[in-house]
Every structure is written in structure tokens, then in C-alpha cells.
């Protein structure tokens, strides 16, 4: 199967990735290869088969509406983050 430039462009945008010139051809080729590999699944008869989203046999894992963990202070939370006056700094351009 083939991937046209438009599809790659959309994909790149949804992924918020650039696709460098030199990578475009090999990348779309290898993605196409993977996708046709995935298509083996279409041969499978899955009529009436429930999709599995969770493998653990669990339901209703709910928390009481109460604090339970120690609070971390802002300086620690923002350590390793660009911040000013307690706000996470964003490039000027955003507004």
C-alpha cells in the first residue's frame, strides 16, 4: 500500500512532528510496509467478538473524595521547568 504526501503531511501534523526531507521517502515506505503488515488482521473473522481494552479483570476502581498523599510544594513541582512568578513559562508567541 502507498502513502501519499497529503496523508504523510496530515499524519505529521497530528503527531506534531516535522518530516525532514531526507527521511520522507524511507519513512513513508516503512510506514506503508507496517500498515500492510497490519492488514493481515483484516483476514481475521471478528464478527461479534468483543474488543479487549483492559487485560486486568478489574472494574469500579474508585477513590474516596479525600486527600491521601503528601502535598509537594510549588518550587519542587516546578524544578526542572522554566517558570516565572509560579507560572510555567511559555514562548511569547502563544496567546
Amino acid at each position: 500500500m502507498e502513502l501519499d504526501a497529503k496523508t504523510m503531511e496530515t499524519l505529521a501534523w497530528l503527531s506534531r512532528l516535522d518530516i525532514p526531507q531526507e527521511e520522507e521517502a524511507p519513512l513513508s515506505a516503512s510506514i506503508a510496509e507496517m500498515l500492510s503488515f497490519f492488514q493481515q488482521l483484516s483476514a481475521l473473522d471478528t464478527a461479534g467478538v468483543e474488543p479487549t481494552a483492559h487485560i486486568a479483570p478489574l472494574e469500579n476502581v474508585l477513590r474516596e473524595d479525600e486527600p491521601f498523599s503528601p502535598r509537594l510544594d510549588r518550587d519542587l513541582l516546578l524544578s526542572g521547568t522554566e517558570s516565572e512568578d509560579g507560572l510555567i513559562t511559555l514562548p511569547k508567541v502563544i496567546g
Binding site: 496530515t10 499524519l11 505529521a12 497530528l14 503527531s15 506534531r16 512532528l17 516535522d18 525532514p20 527521511e23 519513512l27 516503512s30 510506514i31 510496509e33 507496517m34 500498515l35 503488515f37 497490519f38 492488514q39 493481515q40 488482521l41 483484516s42 481475521l44 471478528t46 467478538v49 468483543e50 474488543p51 479487549t52 481494552a53 483492559h54 487485560i55 486486568a56 478489574l58 476502581v61 477513590r63 491521601f68 498523599s69 509537594l72 519542587l76 513541582l77 524544578s79 526542572g80 521547568t81 522554566e82 510555567i88 511559555l90 514562548p91 508567541v93 502563544i94
Partner: protein, 483 residues
């Protein structure tokens, strides 16, 4: 025998008898790392200060008589598991020198047990890969043969154990990332039942598959480590309520009456003949130890691989979206607008394979394709779960190879993602089923002057860890185990 060559049981005995202190063991391990890791490259970060701090705490526990099986034992942690104040990189430029402000549940559990963390190990970037060659931060070599890959993604953890640079290591397994490197490096690696070990603090790759587990020198050690790290964690909604976690319980019991199936699909085309032969020899050993071995069939494995890749790429595309250059880690220079901030940061911060899987994941989830790919794969997952259930109605465990081949040369496959993917065929079905499975060394293959370790895989139904360890230990005892 050097401390660094001893297993946990032996070291623990020495510590209990005060013949050595945790601090001395830490010093010994750190010097072993200094000696050999220059060539092996198992570690991304050696946390010397942290190690001595934890060692002193362990010595206190030993004095006060509150010590347990892992108190004072030096270990290595895979670098996708959060360690407060110790950088956690996922072997990615994207996280660079990120210092977590919190400990993963596993990290807490091991601190409680008094184990001593030496450092953080190399891996494929964000656990995406099977050779550790996708690391953005360094090359790890197979201790058995330095020109060969250690496997992946937990390659650093497996290599660290094999090279005697720690007594045990923690890895994570999404599609074989503990078992395959264990096989390549000749150590014991367990991927427990999904939900046994909390994922809180494990940087997510594919959340419905990711599971943390131990890599060790012996089967008994492995059970002990799993006992220490498994718990019910209220911070992880998929963490299982406590069931019997005495994983060592059956070790030493003979195997008479145990039924083990060998799905023939795992021994067919694409499997290196000598790998198949070594695994079949292991089967004979298990038979002599009292198990009943039978050939069986699991046709469902044929679609396990595509189903696995669809689902984990989809989950990864979402899990890795948070790396946007705003809050932590890498941020690209020369940004003119928001779109650029995202795209430049992510393009420069992620390696090729990671970007490829993100693109794939977004494709299968995007409008119009969901049912054909994602939903279909989830249904295939259901069918595979049923197929396993049918087999486990007949057999206690399944015996298979871990990987179709032994370790390959560094650089040999790294440019062929598809061929790399096919290498996961034996391990991936286990993750789709959320099942426990172990990799146990069963011999070596001689190849251009190198001796390449090979392991076999024992797969059990959910919660059958104790039984898996029982069989694995019986095999280990029977003597022809690689080491």
C-alpha cells in the same frame, strides 16, 4: 568467589552473618562497574552518593534486625522508572536530565526492602526496540560477546546482571523487553501477570501491556525480588488487589504431574534451528524432572504481532504526546510559534524509531481507520486470550523459545525495523494476554568465535508465577543451564 559474582541468596547470608556490610557491598559493586562498564555500557547513570546513602540505611536495618531478603543487595534500575532526585532519561534526548520529583512505586518498594540502587540502565528509547540500539545516550554491549547486542529494550539491565555489575536489575516488558534481553545475555528474566507490579512511576510506552519485572542470576533470586516489588497500589487503577504473593512457595517441589505444552507454531519457520534444538533439550530436562511434555497448537500467534503493534503504537502516540517542550525536558531553540515549539521540539527530541511509532499510532487512531486497525486489533486480542485459555485448560504451562535467534551483531538489524519486529514473535502474545512468563538460560550457540546465550520461555495462566518458578528452578537444578 567475588561478591559481584554471588547471587542474592549468598550475599544476603553474608550480610546477615555480618561478614560484610551493605556499604562494603555497594563499594565493591561500584568498583566492578568502574572496571567493566566502560566496555559494556550498561549504565546511563551511576548514582554513587545515593547508593552509599541507601547502603547506610540498609546497614541500620541489619543492625536493628528489620532486614529482609533484599536488604543491602545492590541492584540496577531501568531508566524509564522514576527515581526521585536521580535523573530518569528513558534513553531519550527528550528527557535529557529530567529529575523526577517523586519515586515510582517500585522504587519505594525496593527502598522499603533496603535494597541499594547503584544506578540507572540503558535501554531502547522509551522502551521502543529489541536491541537497545535505539538509545539516544549510548551503546550497550552483550557481556557474552561485545560485538553483539544485549537485546532490548531492557538491554542495560540484562547486561548489568550478566556482567556482574549488580546482583539484580529491574526491567520493564511491553512486548518482550525483559525476557528477550535475558535470553540474549544469559540471565533469568520474569514478566509477571499484568497488574502484579504497580506501573505508577513507570514512564508509559503502551499502558495496557507495560509490566515491570526482575532480571536475576538465578530463579530463586527472581522470585524473591518479585515478592519485594509486587503490591497493590491505590495510585494505579490497574494494580491488582493482593493475592498470594509467596512466589517462592513451590521452588524445590518436584514436577511430577505438571503438564507442559509446546505450541508447534513456535518451532516452525523463522526459528533458528539451534535455538529450537536447545529449547527441546530443555523440554527433555523438564521431562526428566517429572513434567509431562506434549506438543500442542496455538494458531492464534500468527496474528499476535500485527495486533500488538497496532495497539502499542496507538497507545504510545498518546502517551508520548505530553513531551511537547513546555513543562520538562528538551525544548528546541528558535521557536516562532506554538506549532513550531511542538514540532521542532518533538522532531529533534525523539529518535527515528519513536517518531515512526508515533506516526503509525496516530494513523491507526485517526478518523476513518479506527475500526479497521485499532478495534480489529482489540478483537484479535480477545481471540488470542481465548486461545490461551483453551490451552491452559489442558496444560499448566507452555514451553517456547524466547526469541527466534540468539543475539545479533550491533548494527546488523538496526536499519530494518520490520525484521526487528519479527524478532518479537515469541514474546508478544504473552503481553497481549497479560500473562506471566519467564526466560531461563538453556545453553549457548557458537557463532564466529562468540558463545551466544539462549533462553527458553515458560508461559503460565494469570497468577501462576509460583508454578513457573517451580518448573524453572527444577530445570536450573538439573544442571545443564548455561552458566
Amino acid at each position: 568467589m567475588k561478591y559481584s559474582e554471588m547471587d542474592i541468596a549468598a550475599l544476603s547470608a553474608l550480610l546477615q552473618k555480618r561478614e560484610v556490610s551493605a556499604r562494603e557491598l555497594a563499594a565493591d559493586a561500584l568498583s566492578a562497574i568502574a572496571e567493566t562498564d566502560g566496555t559494556i555500557g550498561a549504565y546511563l547513570t551511576v548514582a554513587e552518593e545515593e547508593a552509599y546513602r541507601q547502603a547506610d540505611a540498609a546497614d541500620e536495618m541489619l543492625k536493628s534486625g528489620t532486614a529482609g531478603a533484599l536488604t543491602g543487595i545492590p541492584f540496577a534500575m531501568k531508566d524509564n522508572i522514576c527515581t526521585k532526585g536521580v535523573r530518569t532519561t528513558c534513553a531519550s534526548k527528550m528527557l535529557g536530565n529530567w529529575l523526577p520529583v517523586y519515586d515510582a512505586c517500585v522504587t519505594e518498594q525496593l527502598k522499603k526492602a533496603g535494597a541499594v540502587m547503584l544506578g540507572k540502565t540503558n535501554m531502547d528509547e522509551f522502551a521502543m526496540g529489541s536491541s537497545s540500539e535505539n538509545s539516544a545516550l549510548g551503546v550497550t554491549r552483550n557481556p557474552a560477546a561485545p560485538d553483539y547486542v544485549p537485546g532490548g529494550s531492557s538491554g542495560g539491565s540484562a547486561a548489568a546482571v550478566a556482567a556482574n555489575e549488580c546482583a539484580f536489575a529491574i526491567g520493564s516488558d511491553t512486548g518482550g523487553s525483559i525476557r528477550q534481553p535475558a535470553s540474549f545475555c544469559g540471565v533469568v528474566g520474569m514478566k509477571p501477570t499484568y497488574g502484579t507490579v504497580s506501573r505508577y512511576g513507570l514512564v508509559a510506552y503502551a499502558s495496557s501491556f507495560d509490566q515491570i519485572g526482575p532480571l536475576t542470576k538465578t530463579v530463586a533470586d527472581n522470585a524473591k525480588v518479585l515478592e519485594a516489588i509486587s503490591c497493590h497500589d491505590r495510585r494505579d487503577s490497574t494494580s491488582l488487589p493482593q493475592y498470594d504473593t509467596n512466589y517462592s512457595a513451590l521452588i524445590g517441589k518436584d514436577l511430577s504431574g505438571m503438564r507442559i505444552g509446546m505450541p508447534k507454531e513456535y518451532f516452525g519457520e523463522g526459528i533458528h534451528p539451534q535455538v529450537a534444538e536447545l529449547v527441546k533439550n530443555a523440554a527433555k530436562q523438564l521431562e526428566q524432572a517429572g513434567a509431562v511434555i506434549e506438543e500442542c497448537s496455538l494458531p492464534a500467534v500468527s496474528y499476535a504481532l500485527p495486533a500488538y503493534y497496532v495497539l502499542c503504537c496507538a497507545e504510545a502516540s498518546s502517551n508520548l504526546a505530553r513531551f511537547d517542550g513546555i513543562r520538562y525536558g528538551f525544548r528546541a531553540e528558535g521557536i516562532e510559534d506554538l506549532d513550531q515549539l511542538y514540532r521542532k521540539t518533538r522532531t529533534q527530541g525523539f529518535g527515528r524509531e519513536v517518531r515512526r511509532r508515533i506516526l503509525l499510532g496516530n494513523y491507526v487512531l485517526s478518523a476513518g481507520y479506527y475500526d479497521a486497525y485499532y478495534k480489529k486489533a482489540q478483537q484479535a486480542r480477545t481471540l488470542l486470550i481465548r486461545a490461551f485459555a483453551e490451552l491452559f485448560a489442558k496444560y499448566d504451562l507452555l514451553l517456547t523459545p524466547v526469541a527466534p535467534t540468539p543475539a545479533y551483531k550491533i548494527g546488523e538489524k538496526s536499519n530494518d525495523p520490520m525484521e526487528m519486529a519479527l524478532g518479537d514473535i515469541c514474546t508478544v502474545p504473552v503481553n497481549l494476554g497479560g500473562l506471566p512468563a519467564i526466560s531461563v538460560p538453556c545453553g549457548k550457540i557458537a557463532q564466529d568465535g562468540a558463545e551466544l546465550p539462549v533462553g527458553f520461555q515458560l508461559i503460565g495462566p494469570a497468577f501462576s508465577e509460583a508454578k513457573i518458578y517451580q518448573a524453572a528452578a527444577a530445570y536450573e537444578k538439573s544442571g545443564i543451564a548455561a552458566r
